[in-house]
Structures are given as C-alpha cells and as structure tokens.
C-alpha cells in the first residue's frame, strides 16, 4: 500500500475517532435515526439482545432484537466499554477501505478477461477510492451510529476483494457470513461466482459448472456451521424466524428509507402475503437479468445488484446506499458517460436534507403526517434507482465502444 492510501486511511480513522470523542452524544442521536438504524441492524436493539442474552433470557423474547446470534457472541466477549466498541466499528471501516484498495489495485474494474475498457486510463488511483468511501458522509454517519450493517458491508467488501484476486475460499466464506448476517447478500452469489471464476489464473481453470458446484458446497457447509453455532449459543432455532423471518415477512413497520413500510401499512391484510412475495420476487428477478447482460463485467453486475437491493430490500438504510456509492467509484472512468449526474446529485442532496426535516415534522412537531416522510423516501429511492440505471447505461456504453471504437464520442439514443 502506498503512502497516500495510508494517509487516507489514517485521516478516515481520525475523523471517526474525533467524532466519537468530541461529540459523545452523537452516536446515540444518530443511532435513533430511522434512516441509519433499521429494526434488523439497530445498535440499540443489539444492546437489548446482548442484555437479555447475558442475563440468561432468550434474546429474541420480547420481539425487539432481530439480529444474528453470532453478533451476540462477538459483543458478549468484548469488554463492555464504549471505546472498544467504537474502535471495533472504526476498524471495520478501515478494513473496508483496505478491501476497496485491493479491489481497485487489482484492475478488475477496467480489465476483465472479456472486456478492456477504452477509458481505463481515466480510472482513479486506489487511494482516491478509499477516500471516497472513508469520507462519504453516509458511511461516516453509519459508522458513528454503529448499526451492524457496518460489519455486513465490511464482509461483502472483503469477499469481493478476495474474489477479484481469485481466492475462492475467503470469498465464499465471507459471502456466507454476509448472508448469515443479513440475508440479502445471498443475491450476490451468481455475480460473485462469475467474478471469482474470471479472476482465476488461466492455467488451472476448471469448467464453470464444476467451479460453481464446489463453491456452492463450500458456501452451504459454512452456512450450516454458522447455523449450528447459532443454535448452540442460543439454545434454540428461534433465531431463524426472528432474524430471517423478519427480513422476509416485515413484521416491524418502523419507517425507514425504503419502499416497504408505508406500502405494507396501507396494504389490505388479505393481500399482504401476496405483496410480500411480489416484493421479494421483484428483487430476485434482477439477478439473472443483470448477470446475463453484464456477463463481461461481473464486478459491475455485483455492484449493480448491491445497488438494486439497497433500494428494494425490506429494511434498507443509508449504509447500503453508502456501500453502493463507494463501490461505484471503482467505475469512475465511465462517469463521463452518465447523463444525469447533476440532477441525481441534486436529488440525493435534496432527499438527504429534507428527509430528517420531514420526519421531524411528522413525528415530533405533529404538523405533518406520514406522507411527508414517505414522499421523501420515494424521491430518495427514485434517485437511487436512476443512479443505478444511469451507471448501467454508462458501463454498457463503455462496453459497446470496445466493440465499435468508431463510436467513441458520439451521442447515442435509445430506440
């Protein structure tokens, strides 16, 4: 790692530590923000779970805690000190930054076995990508609020870093952990398979079928080990319904930045089950399409799926968007092909500032209603969806230009 990277990482850690120490009440305030903490990631709920767990009560009694049991193990062996917990979160972010640097250094964003970007000279140096992650206000806020999504993000990034280096074991073990922690990363498996396969050294390449089968076996074995461990430490299988059941069935309708809560508050009870299935299927339907279309750039397929699930999953938070935006900077060489950059940046800023204001008007001032906040989450989701679409457009255009170099610099239209 070069000096610039170290400097950036040091600065990122410093910012976080300063925020933790200079504003001791900031973590608590941020942890209560619905935009940052969701029922399945909230630090406050985690504390509740740990309390129940260390006092001999099933952590899932009371229906507050919905997170994976291994997090309980991790936190129950840590000394009960805020500083150490904070340090753990800062470390997680640093680790994420290192993973990003590894991904960027590998060159996979610009050069894959099937595709070499004509703009590869334009890509940012690794330290800049780490900086975009570490200084992203969404990431910083998420780190300070300490939801457990931070760990999921770190592990996903590590998995990608391992995959681009052709290290299958760490990649799939990590992805199993991410799936175990928050379920939706399971959608990233197909692109991860392609990504790892493409990154294997050309000399010892097995067939893609054999490769997938073995990888899947590794993943399932590891997942089973995690489940058995969870069963051992909590003493029952209750955690399955209380964690994954919550992701899938949305029993907790606390507002968040996603599209689900308002919809299922309003939905007629008899259609609830159907629309739950529909919403989950909607997420699933993108997986094969994106993988097929972006087969030449599996890393970008993976990033796109992260972006899509950060919009359409049941309990999204700005931490998910932060992860997507950070990963997207890996493809900064295609940014010049995006068409709505100004509009999207403005919309994101608009939603970021108006969201808390409308939430305040609704919940505290009482002068607004749920529609205020919901409207803003709609704006947020639409702008995120447009970013995903625009980024896909830019990358496809980039891909297309390798096929038809004569088109570089021409304008294109959809017909």
């Amino acid at each position: 790692m070069d000096r610039k990277s170290l400097l950036v990482i040091g600065a990122g850690a410093l910012i976080r530590l300063v925020l933790f120490t200079a504003f001791p009440s900031l973590p608590t305030i941020l942890a209560q923000r619905v935009e940052i903490s969701t029922p399945v990631t909230s630090y406050k709920r985690l504390q509740e779970g740990i309390y129940l767990y260390t006092h001999g009560v099933s952590p899932y009694d009371g229906g507050v805690f919905h997170q994976a049991p291994l997090l309980l193990s991790l936190f129950s062996i840590l000394p009960p000190s805020t500083i150490i917990t904070n340090l753990l979160y800062v470390l997680a972010d640093i680790f994420s930054a290192i993973s990003l640097i590894q991904i960027a250094s590998s060159g996979v964003p610009t050069v894959t076995p099937h595709h070499v970007s004509p703009r590869k000279a334009n890509s940012w140096p690794p330290w800049a990508i780490a900086a975009a992650f570490l200084f992203n206000p969404f990431t910083i806020a998420t780190c300070i609020a300490r939801p457990t999504i931070v760990f999921t993000n770190t592990i996903i990034l590590h998995s990608i870093a391992a995959a681009v280096n052709g290290r299958r074991g760490p990649a799939f073990v990590s992805m199993a952990m991410a799936t175990y922690l928050s379920l939706y990363p399971v959608l990233l498996l197909p692109p991860l398979l392609f990504l790892t396969y493409d990154s294997l050294k050309a000399t010892s390449k097995p067939s893609i079928q054999a490769f997938s089968a073995i990888s899947m076996i590794i993943l399932s074995v590891v997942l089973m080990i995690y489940f058995k461990l969870s069963h051992l430490i909590t003493g029952s299988w209750e955690f399955v319904a209380s964690t994954y059941g919550v992701h899938l069935l949305l029993p907790d309708l606390t507002p968040n930045v996603g599209l689900w809560w308002y919809f299922f508050i309003e939905m007629f009870d008899s259609f609830r089950a159907f629309f739950l299935c529909l919403f989950q299927l909607h997420l699933l339907i993108y997986v094969p399409s994106v993988c097929l279309r972006l087969r030449k750039q599996p890393l970008f397929a993976l990033i796109t799926l992260i972006g899509i699930s950060s919009i359409f999953k049941s309990y999204p938070a700005i931490g998910d968007t932060g992860l997507y935006l950070s990963l997207l900077t890996l493809y900064n060489h295609t940014f010049s092909l995006m068409r709505y950059t100004f509009f999207l940046a403005a919309a994101i800023l608009y939603a970021t500032f108006l969201g808390p204001a409308f939430y305040y008007l609704w919940v505290y001032a009482g002068s607004g209603n749920a529609n205020f906040f919901y409207a803003i989450t709609l704006v947020w989701s639409i702008s995120n969806a447009l970013i995903v679409a625009d980024a896909v457009y830019a990358t496809l255009r980039d891909e297309h230009e390798t096929e038809r170099p004569e088109l570089i610099g021409k304008d294109v239209v959809q017909i």
């Binding site: 006092h55 074991g169 590891v222 080990i225 430490i233």
Partner: protein
C-alpha cells in the same frame, strides 16, 4: 315436605300469555360505536356518549354496554374544557363525567374488532368486558355514528366497513343464536343504505338519512368551537329525555319513530321493519334501550324448599358419594376424550422443551453461567475465524 299440588300448576297456567310475548328477552345489551377520530369530529363522540348515558340511565349495566370510541376528544389539547364532553351548547351535562367505561378505545376501534365483537371470534385472552356475551334471549341495541357514504361507513379515516360486512356479521350472529331481537340505529350521511343489505330476521333498523342525503349537525358550541351533536341523534335524545323517564316507561318504538320530523332533522330518517316480526306499537323503547330484569319474587311461583341444604347433606347424596362419581368421571374422561389426552401430552412436551432453556424468568447474572457462556461465545467467534483460515488454506492447495 311440601309437594307442589296440581293446584299451584293450574295457577301458573293462568298467567296471561300476552305478558309472555313481551318478555322473551332476559337481558339487554348495547353496542355503541363512534367510528371517527380527531377533534373536529367532536359531535360523533358526543352522540355516542349521549346514547351511552341514556342506556345507562335506563338501567343497562356497564358490563352489558360495549362502548367503542376513539376517545381523543375529552383530553384533546384543543378542548377549552379539558376532561369534558358536552352534547349541548348549554353545557348542562358533562357526558364524560366520572363513570365512563370505554371498552374499545383509540386505535382498537377497527372494522376487524367490530366484526370480531359481533361474531365473538375474539382472541382467547379477551376480557369479558370486551365481549358481547349474548344469547338467544338477549336484545341488542346497536348504535353507530361516524362518516359514511353509500353502503359504507368509515372507521377512523383508515378503513371502512360495508353494508355487506355488517349484514354478514348479523347473519352469523343469527346463526349462532346470539340475539333475540336487535335494534340497529345509525347516524351518518346516507345512513339508510347501511341497513339495506340486512337479511337476518328480527332486526329493526333505523337511520338518519336516505341515499344521497347528508346527515347534519344540530348546533355548534362557540366556546368549544365545533358542532356538538348531530340532528338525528339530538331529536332521538330529546324524545328519550322528555318521554322515557325510567326503565318502566311504556312508550313504544312507534311513538319514537312518529316523533321524527324530517324538516327538523334536515334529512329523511328511515325505518326498516320487514325483518322484524312484532308490531312497532307493541314494542317498548325499553325493550332495547333499557334493561328489563324480570324479577321473580320468591313464593310467587317459585317453590322454596328450606331444608334443601339439609337434604344435600343427608345420607342419600353425601359428599363421599359424589367424590366417587367425580373420580369415575375423571377416569372415563381420560378414556373417552382422546383429544384431551393428546393435548396433555403436548403440554408435557412443551414443558419439557421449556426446561431446556433455563430460567427465562431469571434476570440476574450467574457467574458460572457467565463463564461458560463467554467460553462458548469465544469458541463460536473462534470457529468462524478458524473456518475462514481453513477454507483459505484449502483454496491454496
């Protein structure tokens, strides 16, 4: 030893049958529902509380009144007279008084809860005060008020109940013999459409306004700042207050319905009698709005045997004898009722399961437990890392 003679039976047989026809119900129940919410719907709350006051005045005990209301008006910050609800600008009677028992409050006032109440399909832990424990000898008075439209009534701006839903619920009540007769009264816009779908017998229905007619408020209190009562309810109450003084009043429903004046009410009240069997001029108002307890004074047709207790104690039917019977029955019960046995087994099984999770109720720390738990947690985290390492090694091989 007193044996009843045929003479006493003959005396009984002389009781006039007309009196029997009147006293077919033995209990009165009232379901009073205000389906709206928010301060500006003050009048709906006042409507329903006025009715509550009236039926209570006429003797229906609180245990037989199901009061459903949002209850957000009396203590509303906009209320100039906190803790009170008035139904008249003269503010003579505080309806919110000191003896109000609201059974379904606030967000509990939902279509589902209302239907569940009527059909008694309630969760098993529902207290008796929240259930309509009627039978085929109960007369039920149902009063609803709120904002409605053609064949629907809104519940708290969130959902609506349709005329079909209520009609089906009543049919289920009829099927299960949950009422003897029912009086359905509704004060809302286009109220008469709400009872148009009923098809179960012995229901008398009345509403404030026809299709495409609005139901208006009577007057506003300038200090309270909102309308305090609806017209239809106002004139009903006026009649009840002035004519029906107590539960022994002989005024009939025909009298009440004749007192309706469409001009004063500003809408055309409707009455539906085709499902009802009795002639309205024979139906007392207190058959529905009051509580008629048919008292039987001892000695007046009831045979009182003073030495009954001595009898029970005496040798012929002593306690030990009964114990035998009880035991025999228990044994029999085990043999016969397979289901209960299974249930017992299940209970045993769950009890066994509960044992595996040690002490859910214990909320104190135990050092030894703590130690093992920490060892286990550390082990689990360790296994994760070791697993990671092992799989990365495998990869390299």
């Amino acid at each position: 030893m007193k044996l009843p003679t045929w003479g006493s039976l003959a005396l009984l047989s002389l009781l006039p049958s007309a009196c029997l026809a009147q006293s077919q119900h033995t209990s009165n129940w009232a379901v009073l529902v205000s389906t709206s919410r928010f301060w500006f719907n003050y009048r709906h709350l006042a409507n329903v509380l006025s009715m509550y006051r009236t039926v209570k005045r006429l003797g229906i005990p609180d245990s037989q009144i199901i009061l459903m209301l949002s209850d957000d008006v009396a203590c509303n910050p906009r209320n100039t007279f906190p803790g009170t609800v008035y139904n008249n600008a003269d503010r003579a009677i505080d309806l919110y008084g000191d003896n109000i028992e609201v059974d379904y409050r606030g967000y509990e006032v939902t279509v589902e809860n209302f239907i569940r109440l009527l059909t008694d399909r309630v969760p098993p832990d529902t207290p008796r005060s929240k259930r309509l424990l009627t039978d085929d000898r109960s007369n039920i008075f149902i009063y609803m008020t709120g904002h409605g439209g053609n064949e629907f009534l809104k519940f708290q701006d969130a959902e609506e109940i349709s005329a079909f839903d209520i009609a089906d619920a009543f049919q289920q009540m009829f099927e299960k013999k949950r009422y003897n007769e029912m009086l359905f009264m509704i004060d809302t816009c286009q109220a008469n459409t709400m009872y148009s779908k009923f098809y179960s017998p012995n229901i008398l229905a009345t509403g404030s306004s026809e299709l495409d007619q609005s139901s208006y408020s009577h007057h506003a209190d300038n200090d309270v700042g909102v309308a305090v009562i609806d017209r239809y309810t106002y004139f009903n109450l006026e009649y009840l207050e002035t004519h029906v003084q107590n539960a022994s009043s002989k005024h009939t429903l025909a009298d009440l319905f004749n007192s309706y004046d469409p001009v004063k009410i500003a809408s055309t009240p409707g009455i539906r009698t085709d499902l009802f069997r009795r002639d309205l001029s024979e139906v007392l108002i207190t058959d529905f709005l009051g509580n008629v307890q048919n008292v039987e004074v001892d000695g007046d047709g009831m045979i009182l045997d003073e030495d009954l207790l001595a009898l029970a104690r005496s040798a012929g039917y002593n306690v030990s004898d009964c114990k035998d019977v009880g035991l025999a029955m228990k044994r029999f019960g085990k043999k016969g009722a397979v289901v209960s046995e299974e249930a017992e087994k299940e209970r045993d099984a769950t009890a066994g399961e509960e044992k595996t999770w040690e002490g859910p109720a214990r909320v104190h720390k135990d050092r030894q437990d703590d130690f093992w738990r920490n060892v286990m947690s550390a082990g689990a985290v360790g296994v994760c890392f070791v697993g990671y390492w092992v799989f990365s090694m495998i990869d390299k091989v």
